[in-house]
């Protein structure tokens, strides 16, 4: 992997990747380790071995819930949750098709709503996401319940200063940080 990848990964970790001594504490506390192909401590190990590209197609990046348990408990002060955010960035770059479904798609649709309205329009977000995942009927019963309790707004409620929100999005650089 190139120089940039290595330095960004180290920067995100907040410590040198080489500091990880494979104690496994991150994996022990990770609530979704059971569903990961590479467990948190293995992510660190692969990076140490210079095999970071194997991680970029990994399912682990997208089942991580960003719960921050690993970051909280690592005795070497490695910010693994933030490191995973950075790997997500490189994963989307290497495999743009990851955003076609699941969490990366959800994130994309979510941010599109924020970009457009300055706020999340929950009903529109859910409908769009379900449509793109071709599961239009998913959660219909829930949606019905929520509408009846006024837990879903029918129309978006945008911010007034949309120019400023647009400025934030246009200043966003295609960089991991």
């Amino acid at each position: 992997m190139n120089e940039n990848f290595w330095s960004e990964v180290n920067r995100a970790a907040g410590q040198k990747i080489t500091h990880c001594y494979q104690c496994g504490k991150c994996t022990a506390g990770c609530p979704v380790a059971f569903a990961m192909d590479y467990k948190p401590h293995q992510i660190l190990r692969l990076l140490q071995l210079g095999r970071g590209e194997e991680l970029l197609s990994s399912r682990a990046l997208w089942v991580c819930s960003s719960c921050q348990t690993c970051t909280t408990r690592c005795p070497c002060h490695i910010d693994l949750a933030r490191l995973i955010d950075t790997l997500r960035f490189f994963s989307r770059q290497a495999f743009p098709q990851v955003t076609r479904h699941g969490m990366p798609l959800f994130n994309e649709v979510f941010l599109r709503s924020v970009k457009r309205y300055g706020r999340v329009y929950e009903l529109g977000l859910t409908l769009q996401f379900n449509l793109k995942e071709r599961k239009v009927w998913r959660d219909l019963d829930l949606g019905h319940f929520m509408l009846s309790r006024r837990k879903l707004r029918l129309l978006p409620e945008p911010v007034e200063n949309r120019k400023e929100v647009a400025q934030i999005f246009s200043a966003e650089k295609e960089e991991p940080r």
Binding site: A35, C67, Q68, H101, R153, I168, K173
Partner: protein
């Protein structure tokens, strides 16, 4: 005390009752809340999973708006709270990023504003002030206080001890509700994995409900709209998926406190829960 109120998107929709009950309880406790004019979304997990710049710049606008008001912020949504706190820390730590964010917003930051979760804001009032408002003690009800992730992790932004948080128990002590010692209080509920990795999230939700059932909790208490949506709205789905039969109502902290303060359950938004809280409420004569 007067605070700049940042409801966030969830409290305007899915978590409407959290907004209603927080405002109502605050009013009765003499906490003046002024909604931040024209606030925007904090970006939540979607932003930090996508771009570090967005993850800081979106909450930064909210921080700047509050700075203009000259008030500290109350952020009842745990996710918003964590994003605002994280953005504050990043702006402090990374002057180059701060410069870029200021450029994009056309605003400058002095970094004067403090950000409080609902737990901190209520705890600050002190036990006596809370006790003075309790007119309907919740004796006999056993609850499991559920903190989830973002109120207490990572340590840099935590509002309480990351492993053994106690603020909710302290806040609820004057209500005489029995707060249980249990193992699930800071486990992860899966947050938005419920959309993008459903089975994984259902597993996490089941584990939390199981831990609460094990200690015979009559109800769960939370201070996060994402946790509430997962634990309450998805409980039936968990039962369907795993063949369990959980029926544990989930209160927002502000709702439970409001009941003890004798406020009208309807005004506290208690009619909009998926798992009916009536049985738990009847136990304490509400």
């Amino acid at each position: 005390m007067k605070l700049a109120y940042y409801p966030g998107c969830s409290l305007k929709g899915t978590a409407r009752e959290y907004d209603l009950s927080t405002r109502l309880v605050a009013r009765h406790l003499g906490l003046e809340l002024v909604e931040i004019p024209d606030w925007n979304c904090c970006g939540a997990t979607a932003a930090h999973s996508t771009s570090h710049f967005l993850a800081v710049a979106l909450p930064a606008r909210v921080l700047a708006l509050a700075e203009d008001m000259g008030l500290d912020i109350l952020s009842p949504c745990a996710a918003c709270y964590q994003r605002l706190r994280a953005a504050q820390e990043e702006l402090k730590r990374d002057p180059e990023l701060k410069r870029q964010v200021e450029g994009a917003l056309g605003r400058t930051f002095e970094g004067r504003v403090r950000v409080f979760s609902l737990l901190e804001a209520l705890a600050q009032l002190g036990e006596e002030a809370l006790a003075a408002q309790v007119v309907r003690p919740l004796k006999g009800m056993q609850v499991a206080c559920y903190y989830g992730c973002l109120l207490v992790r990572p340590p840099l932004t935590s509002c309480d001890d990351p492993e053994q948080p106690q603020l909710m128990e302290k806040i609820l002590a004057p209500t005489k509700v029995d707060t249980l010692d249990w193992g699930g209080k800071n486990e992860c509920c899966g947050a938005s994995l419920i959309f993008g990795a459903r089975e994984v999230a259902l597993n996490l939700i089941k584990n939390i409900l199981h831990a609460a059932a094990q200690v015979r909790a009559h109800a769960l208490v939370t201070a996060c709209p994402l946790c509430h949506a997962n634990l309450d709205l998805r409980q039936k789905e968990v039962n369907r998926f795993f063949g369990t039969n959980f029926a544990i109502p989930v209160f927002y902290l502000s709702q439970l406190l409001g009941i003890a303060m004798g406020l009208n359950p309807r005004d506290l938004g208690l009619g909009s829960h998926f798992v009916d809280p009536q049985r738990a409420l009847r136990m304490v004569g509400s």
